[in-house]
Amino acid sequence: MNLLELQRRMAEDVMRPLTPDFQMQLATSNGRSTHELASSYIKPNDRLSSFDRLEIYNRQYWFRVIGAVSEDFPAVGAVLGAKKFDSMVLAYLRENPSTSFTLRNLGSKLPKWLESHPEFSPRRHALLLDVARLEWAYVEAFDGADLAPLTAADFGDLGAASPLFLQPHLQLLDLRYPVDELVLAVHRQTAPSDIMSNAVTERKQAKRTRLPAMRRSQIHLAVHRYENSVYYRRIDPEAYRLLFALQSGNLLGQALEAAFSGSSLSAEEQAAKIQECFAHAAELGWFCKPHEI
């Protein structure tokens, strides 16, 4: 077995899902004995078989990756409950193993993945999706880039054909439930943590939080960072459409059109809304110079 073959063999074994009680499986999906597989490349010692030694790594892998995703989605965990949450994370990670050197990105595909997986909470699927979207937006806002904001002079030069760039940390969400309250309630209970080099011995469970009741009611949120803290700001639908159109690369004139197409607001009301939206956004530094490529 050369180095590459050994690494492929071991990675496959280490990343194979555990049994429901967090042990190494006795056989692979095509029926091969994992005892035999382990013995083929790992030496036993006087206390541990090859299987036992491989199992240490197999368990550590899952505790670490489940832990990393769980830390980013504590409110999803609070809505689902620990057991369902663990099986959801496990199913997600089986299909989306890490492809990045950092654990930071491990949960990035969870909100999208969850869209086609209503089975974990059939009755509250829409709510769960909103919670997942907001929690991932928090991660992006927490450490996204913060570029030089536009100055008053820059604003003076703007016209309908101008592009207008938004801060990379700014996340815009169109949600069906007012989940900002729920997510805030859960996040207040969870401590931040870091990437470390030590072994993981257990699956740490978050404390249970009392969740506020959720009634369907559409909201639009701007999740952004201001002086190194992340804030959820509710914005009106027109402001959301305007900012979203800009974020999608539309020129200012097109974005304004998108914001008010089909709107029942009078021209004065529209002008007032635009004024208000720009004033807030500029005050919070949301508009920035083009991203360097």
Binding site: L3, L103, S197, N198, A199
Partner: protein
């Protein structure tokens, strides 16, 4: 010995890891700490609080970068994005040297996020050393590779772990971050004498030392970094210092993290080993004496 080309000819003493639960204490009390070790990956982000905190720390303290995801032993090519971000961070911290582990952890673009043990083969020596050289050339700062703790050994291995370490660092011409706790953990898990390991390390290449606590289970020992340093690890540390000379030393405490003062005072126990008793008695070698003074300044 302690200031050598593998740690940028620096003279660092006892440091501790920079950890989130200690931020408030550090900023409020401004404790005297010789240096902090940071986990690079926690600061390889585009913006936000982590970088702000780091900049504040850098105003007052010396920082050394330690990584957990370079995977020198992985057969896949180095990740350019990773290297670029790391280099940007080294410019920010001005770390005199940079460490990561002598292990692998990814294959075919998939990451295990674990520090997996190497098969101790000549093929692995060659591949790993080539990768270390590549990273060292790209980052343009000295690299120190850390021995990991392990729970498995491979049939493929052709040499001992310390022979492998020696072969790799010679071939790569790089430094060593000697983790004496990892040596102890592996010695218990694999049944070798940890002093054989410490005694065989090329002393002139040791850039830094790690000490840490670990957890003993019924049949194996796990490198959990959640306890004070055990006596047996202090003994190994004493022997390492005897061979290597006073060297930048860092206590790792990553889980069940106690107060800043508790972690720092545990780390400072290392000072007694770093301050050779001969310094206290008149020495007939002025050269030796002044060399030591430089070390402890």
């Amino acid at each position: 010995m302690p200031a050598n080309r593998f740690n940028g000819f620096s003279d660092y003493g006892v440091g501790i890891g920079l950890r989130v639960p200690h931020y408030d204490h550090i900023f409020a009390e401004k404790p005297v700490v010789d240096w902090f070790e940071i986990i690079s990956e926690n600061y390889m982000v585009d913006g936000g609080r982590a970088l702000k905190v780091l900049d504040q720390i850098l105003e007052r303290y010396r920082v050394v970068q330690h990584g957990v995801s370079m995977y020198f032993g992985s057969t896949q090519p180095a990740d350019r994005e990773h290297l670029k971000r790391l280099k940007t961070l080294t410019r920010r911290t001005k770390t005199p040297w940079l460490s990561d582990h002598l292990c692998w952890g990814s294959v075919d673009g998939r990451y295990t996020h674990d520090l997996l043990p190497m098969p101790y083969t000549f093929e692995a020596v060659k591949a790993t050393a080539a990768r270390i050289r590549e990273v060292q050339d790209f980052l343009e700062i000295p690299i120190a590779v850390e021995n990991v703790s392990s729970y498995a050994e491979f049939h493929e291995s052709q040499m001992t772990e310390w022979e492998f370490l020696n072969e790799v660092v010679e071939a790569a011409d790089c430094g060593i971050l000697l983790d004496v706790n990892n040596i102890y953990v592996s010695s218990q898990n694999h049944g070798f004498n940890p002093f054989d390991y410490v005694n065989s390390v090329p002393a002139e290449r040791v850039a830094q030392i790690h000490i840490a606590g670990h957890s003993k289970f019924e049949k194996y020992i796990l490198d959990t970094h959640d306890h004070p340093v055990l006596d047996s690890v202090w003994h190994l540390y004493a022997r390492a210092i005897e061979r290597v000379g006073p060297t930048a030393t860092l206590l790792e405490w990553d889980d069940n993290i106690p107060s800043f003062d508790e972690v720092h005072s545990e780390a400072l126990k290392a000072t007694q080993y770093l301050t050779p008793t001969e310094v206290l008695i008149p020495s007939n070698s002025a050269v030796q004496e002044s060399a030591r003074e430089v070390v402890h300044s």
